[in-house]
Amino acid sequence: MTAPLLTMTGIQKSFLGVRVLHGVDLTVRPGEVHALVGENGAGKSTLMKILAGVYTADAGTVTLDGEPVRFGHPAAAQRAGVSTVFQEFNLLPDRTVAENVYLGREPRRRGMVDRRRMVADTRRLLEDLGVTGLSARARVRNLSVAEQQIVEIVKAMSHDARIISMDEPTAALAGREVALLYRLIERLKQLGVAVLYVSHRLKEIFDLCDRVTVLKDGALVDTSDTADLTTDDLVRKMVGRSITGFFPPKLPGTALGDVRLRVTGGGNTQLDGVDLSVRSGEIVGFAGLQGSGRTELAHALFGIAPFTVGRVEVDGEGARIRSPRQAVRYGIGLVTEDRKTQGLALNQSIAANARLVLDAVRPRSAGRAAKAVPGLLSSLELVARGHDQEVRFLSGGNQQKVVLAKWLVIEPRVMILDEPTRGIDVGAKHAVYTLIRELAAAGMAILLISSELSEVIGMADRIVVMRDGVISGELDAARLPADTAEETIMALATGQNTGAAR
């Protein structure tokens, strides 16, 4: 066994007095692909950012080649051969591929930036990684998400990296593009580069990784060879309990009523042939890979990027929804997948955010209707100093509750939840699930988009699977055999016929 390239020992980190990493250990060997897995909020990204020099650890040591290191800035880590592809995109859309790759370290010749060399080097890096057809001079804005991902990896490689950490690199990739990433990683391995790989997709872990480290609630569970693990083992390590028991049962009295929302032949530039119906009291789950078009579907229904063909009906009546405002008028609510940029006015108070829809769409009755806000917030168990606190000071789970309150106060007929539990912790999640059950019981039609398969399986009455902008299948949750549910869905989502996950 080779000497470890990287060791992290006893890493601790707190934010605002809350410890999120409790002494984590991690070793990475040269040329290995090492998976880092765990639930949302387990601390994966935090650990990676400490390695990358974005955060400094409160305690613990990092050694590289046996030498203790301490990176104060990402640039310092990169100089030492530690590169990171962050969870959020880190590129300048208006600059070229080459300019992005060499940002901050543009090669110079006689004091001048050597553009030719920059392009040539980028091209060589692309070739080294076996990427063809991606121009070093192309503007990043014009690239697909997958191509942008490649640029990020090339940028990481350009530092002569010996270890690259990738935080959910496939999060934005569709099935075919994941294959490209597989090839890239294969290639990195050949080049002797170690890869620290974070993903929620277990299939990838087994396909790609040599070893896997599991984090739970900021603590190390253990590290083992993937070859010695089954999917079940891994899930148990991550979650620590049976997934099914985690989701609250359907409330008594929940009844499937009439069809509240119906789409026939819906399509636009991103979607095609969408046929869909959701009944009152029903929870329809939407599964699919990132980029499969679930958010676009939500946006189409909500009038953000409306359907250009097809027909939408709400409670049996044809609905022409061309803007979010009209959607709200039809009694549709949308909890967006990105709270911060789409869901909240961060500098405004909790109360102001909670009554935003009322203020914007129903100004006349807003004052009266807003009287319900405090009660609603307390029933959601919001934790805050007071309702005049600005929402930017709230934790993510509490922020999400404010978003929910904003919609609940208008008592919508149809509620679209796009990744409603993204980035919120286990306790908050449970509260959200309970709430969803209550809404269904109250007769709302619910569309639940989630990338966490367990969530979809655990909550939905019916599961719609999407792939590349079309609905590739529909499953009745009650009839899904528990042990092969995930495989069935994944097969529909990826278009592969074989049971993909092990």
Partner: protein
């Protein structure tokens, strides 16, 4: 490996913004030429050409500098005051003595650089919004000017007047210097790290910082260069006036230079654009002025037309939609949601892999 990207080149925007700016310039030259011809004159006479180029020089210097700060997502409203101050510093330092020309130039540009430095520091370190910061610094300089220079002061050496009055062939020297400075600016943005970093800082400060760019330093440098460019404009003023003058600060160069930059296609929120476009923007404004002049348009109507044309031009740029996520399904545009230029081209691209 067959990535999805064989189309990356095909998908590139059809026309760069700079091209559009120069097309607009061409259009205005054409329309202006025809209108002028209709009145029995010619726009493309030597005299008018010289006039056009001369008019563009002063604004050109200022707008070149303004481009740099705007690229960094900042702004400089103090340029008019810097022009005035540097013209005075140059003229009073020179005091008619040709031997003191280099000293005077250095002093003028040095003082300009100091003001730029102050602007940069107030914006980055004191975190004052650039609009207020540079407005405030401008007021401070104005106070100094009004207190210490009641009227024109100093005298430039006769040789120095060459900068403002000499022509090489039909070309005014000042215009040649201005275009050369623009060239230097373009070179700077293309071939220096700091230049590259200006795009990065303006595009996304966090990305720049994460990539190891010293963001504050970059913004400060942009402000210094902007002020120095305004300082060069001050030198041109001094050479044309034969003296230094405080009152030039009232001539509206601050807002006009911003308009020229935006007309040149640089994005007001930073990160996108360049000096080539700005030069086009400056020429557009100069052409308008010359056409108005040849046509003897009432000076007040000039302002009206200028206002309308600036808004219209920027509106046209804004309509040029940025390339976004490629379409998956091209056929579904029967009632197009909102016809925008570029839609057709993009709709033609159908992403493969479905069915």
């Amino acid at each position: 490996m067959k990535p999805t990207s064989s189309t990356a080149t095909a998908r590139r925007a059809p026309l760069s913004t700079t091209t559009v700016v120069y097309l607009a310039l061409l259009g205005i030259l054409l329309v202006g030429g025809i209108v002028v011809a209709a009145t029995g004159d010619t726009l493309f006479s030597n005299a008018n050409l010289v006039d056009m180029l001369t008019r563009s020089s002063l604004l050109g210097f200022i707008a070149i500098g303004q481009t740099l700060v705007i690229l960094c997502r900042s702004l400089d409203l103090s340029v008019g005051y810097v022009v005035a101050l540097s013209s005075l510093v140059a003229a009073t330092t020179m005091d008619g003595d040709p031997a003191r020309i280099p000293l005077a130039m250095a002093a003028a540009l040095g003082v300009a650089a100091v003001i730029g430095l102050v602007n940069g520091l107030v914006v980055t370190k004191l975190k004052v919004n650039a609009f207020i910061a540079t407005l405030g610094v401008g007021l401070i300089v104005k106070g100094y000017l009004d207190t210490w220079y009641a009227g024109p002061a100093g005298e430039v050496a006769p040789a120095f007047q060459a900068f403002g009055y000499t022509r090489i062939g039909p070309l005014p020297l000042s215009a040649i210097v201005m275009v050369a400075l623009a060239g230097a600016g373009i070179w700077f943005l293309h071939y220096t790290r700091t230049g590259h970093h200006m795009f990065a800082v303006g595009g996304d400060t966090d990305v720049a910082r994460m990539s190891g760019v010293r963001t504050d330093r970059t913004v400060i440098v942009a402000h210094i260069l902007c002020a120095v460019a305004a300082g060069v404009a001050g030198l041109l003023i001094a050479s044309r006036f034969g003296t230094g003058s405080a009152l030039v600060y009232d001539d509206g160069y601050d807002l006009e230079s911003i308009a020229a930059v935006v007309l040149g296609g640089t994005y007001l929120l930073g990160g996108r654009g360049g000096i080539g476009g700005t030069l086009g923007g400056v020429f557009i404004l100069a052409t308008l002025d010359t056409v108005f002049n040849v046509l003897s348009v009432d000076p007040f109507i000039k302002d009206v037309l200028r206002g309308v044309i600036i808004i219209a031009a920027v509106a046209i740029y804004a309509r040029r939609r940025l390339t976004r996520k490629p379409d998956r399904f091209g056929g579904h545009v029967d009632p197009p949601p909102r016809p925008a230029p570029g839609d057709g081209a993009e709709a033609a691209h159908v992403k493969g892999g479905v069915a």
